[in-house]
């Protein structure tokens, strides 16, 4: 008896726990296997790039927090660095060190969330996630100490940072740095060699090196495919050339490698923070800049290694107090280019994991 099958259009999202926000995929499935997929964007499009044109440089700063809202510090840093380069603003040494500490703490938060939600997608519902959240909360407390905010910090300023570190910050940070390696070991014991994790993520959703480069993938996605490309190393910005750290890479470019790269980056970030705390100089943290200032006409592209990949700000000035054009090179958005190639041929249940392993933030995808 012959069984007839027919392709079925299946809608995933925009409101679906595995999409980490409001992302939608229209999948064409043959049984359980995905034969075609179309990502649908725009549910969180707020026109941030257009808004920038009607605000002064300083007024746009809080909006950068709202791009990738789990890496606000990095967004702040990328934007203030671009404007500083454009206007030739000097940053005090102490502020540079504080920025690096904040950016790396933010990277730990983002990677913990990425790993936690990756396991959520895999079906280990919220147990690993809450282990990650315990540590994430401690970093959030640290951020609250320095700027009073727990999610959207708006901490950096042109020419430095808004507040100096309070006296209780360094002891609390040292406590965190001391206990975090044991926590990472705990995650590893729980997850890294887990039979189910290996079976579901090894050799699943392979992104080859050639495809990763061709599709402009960045960050952990690119590095998991074996490309040794980290902006902190290949084009050091701020004071990253003073620190000693490794760039973890994967070999196969599968979901497991992307997860491994993020875990190993946790340790590297801790290394960088330790070195920055040891080298933290005394002095002022801000060279004040007028609220409304006019950078000279010109353009600048400035980039940092964000949590999800290369985060760049292309700022064009016409000499007025408002930016003429700001374009954000959003890693979450561009990393989704290869999504279609990664998903076709996999079962629907794998597609959820593959998508989760890319780690996107919709605030940055749609802007």
């Amino acid at each position: 008896m012959a069984v007839k099958t027919e392709p079925l259009f299946l809608n995933l999202g925009p409101v679906h726990p595995s999409t980490h926000g409001v992302f939608r995929m229209r999948a064409l499935v043959d049984g359980e296997v995905i034969t075609d997929i179309e990502p649908v964007f725009g549910y969180l499009h707020r026109g941030i790039e257009k808004l920038a044109e009607s605000k002064s440089y300083r007024q746009f700063l809080p909006l950068t927090d709202r791009l990738d809202y789990v890496s606000s510090m990095n967004n702040n840093m990328a934007y203030v660095m671009a404007v500083e380069k454009l206007a030739g603003i000097e940053v005090p040494q102490r502020a540079e060190y504080i920025r690096v500490i904040m950016a790396e703490l933010q990277r730990i938060i983002a990677h913990l969330l990425a790993i936690g939600s990756f396991f959520n997608d895999m079906g280990t519902f919220f147990t690993p996630f809450f282990y990650m959240f315990i540590q994430k909360e401690k970093i959030t407390d640290l951020f609250e100490m320095v700027c009073g905010q727990r999610l959207l910090y708006n901490y950096m300023r042109f020419g430095g940072v808004s507040h100096d570190l309070p006296p209780e910050f360094i002891p609390a940070l040292t406590r965190f740095l001391d206990e975090m390696p044991a926590e990472i070991k705990k995650y590893e014991r729980l997850l890294a060699e887990n039979e189910i994790v290996l079976a579901r993520s090894k050799n699943v959703g392979v992104l080859t090196r050639e495809m990763a480069v061709n599709a402009s993938a960045a960050g952990p996605v690119l590095r998991a495919s074996g490309v040794d490309w980290d902006i902190r190393k290949v084009d050091p910005y701020s004071i990253y050339d003073r620190f000693d750290f490794d760039v973890p890479t994967g070999a196969n470019g599968d979901c497991y490698d992307r997860y491994r790269v993020r875990v190993e980056e946790l340790t590297q970030s801790l290394n960088i923070i330790r070195q920055a705390v040891n080298g933290l100089p005394k002095g002022k943290v801000l060279n004040p800049v007028p609220l409304r200032f006019r950078p000279p006409a010109g353009e600048v592209y400035s980039h940092i290694e964000g949590n999800k990949g290369e985060l760049g700000f292309h700022v064009i000035s016409d000499g007025s107090d408002k930016p003429y054009r700001i374009h954000v090179r959003a890693p979450s958005f561009i990393n989704l280019t290869a999504l279609k190639n990664m998903l076709i041929g996999w079962k629907l249940a794998d597609a959820i994991i593959i998508f989760g392993s890319i780690d996107i933030c919709l605030g940055e995808v749609d802007r």
């Binding site: 599709a215 490309w229 010109g298 592209y301 760049g312």
Partner: protein, 149 residues
């Protein structure tokens, strides 16, 4: 440190028929004729010594008299970068060849520029709006669109 490629060096390396389509060398990029964009990009992608194999970012700008599109290219192997720029004087029906055939990474970024600036990328496999819905009036990042706030 990612080195900025010297634009004179690029122009010298280009074959004669492509070098003639370079309009100007500016501080922030090499300005080329839009019709030859794909040829020049394809040449720079594989030419030994250039090997600009990574399309980092595409920015579209409305410069009032013309549209400008900036392509930022990296070489992963040689760790250098360069910016190609095209300027489209025809503002009523702006069009430029798509780079999606060379770099998959151009696909979503070109759709974004089509959506927000209304520039058509000929040869793109799926040229349609990406963030805004079909039927949305106008293209918000154009300077004559109005701010509304």
């Amino acid at each position: 440190m990612t080195v900025q490629l010297e634009y004179n060096r690029i122009v010298e390396a280009l074959p004669q028929n492509l070098a003639s389509s370079v309009i100007a060398i500016e501080d922030h990029g090499l300005i080329i004729q839009p019709e030859r964009l794909t040829d020049i990009a394809a040449f720079l992608k594989v030419e030994p010594g250039m090997e600009l194999d990574y399309l980092c970012s595409i920015t579209g700008v409305d410069c009032i008299n013309y549209f400008e599109i900036d392509y930022l290219l990296y070489s992963i192997k040689l760790n250098h970068r360069c910016t190609l720029k095209v300027r489209l004087a025809d503002k009523s029906e702006p069009a430029v060849p798509s780079l999606a055939g060379l770099w998959l990474g151009a696909e979503l970024q070109e759709r974004e520029i089509f959506d927000l600036l209304g520039i058509n990328f000929s040869g793109h496999p799926d040229m349609k709006r990406i963030f805004l819905w079909e039927g949305f009036p106008g293209h918000p990042l154009r300077k004559d669109y109005g701010h509304g706030c």
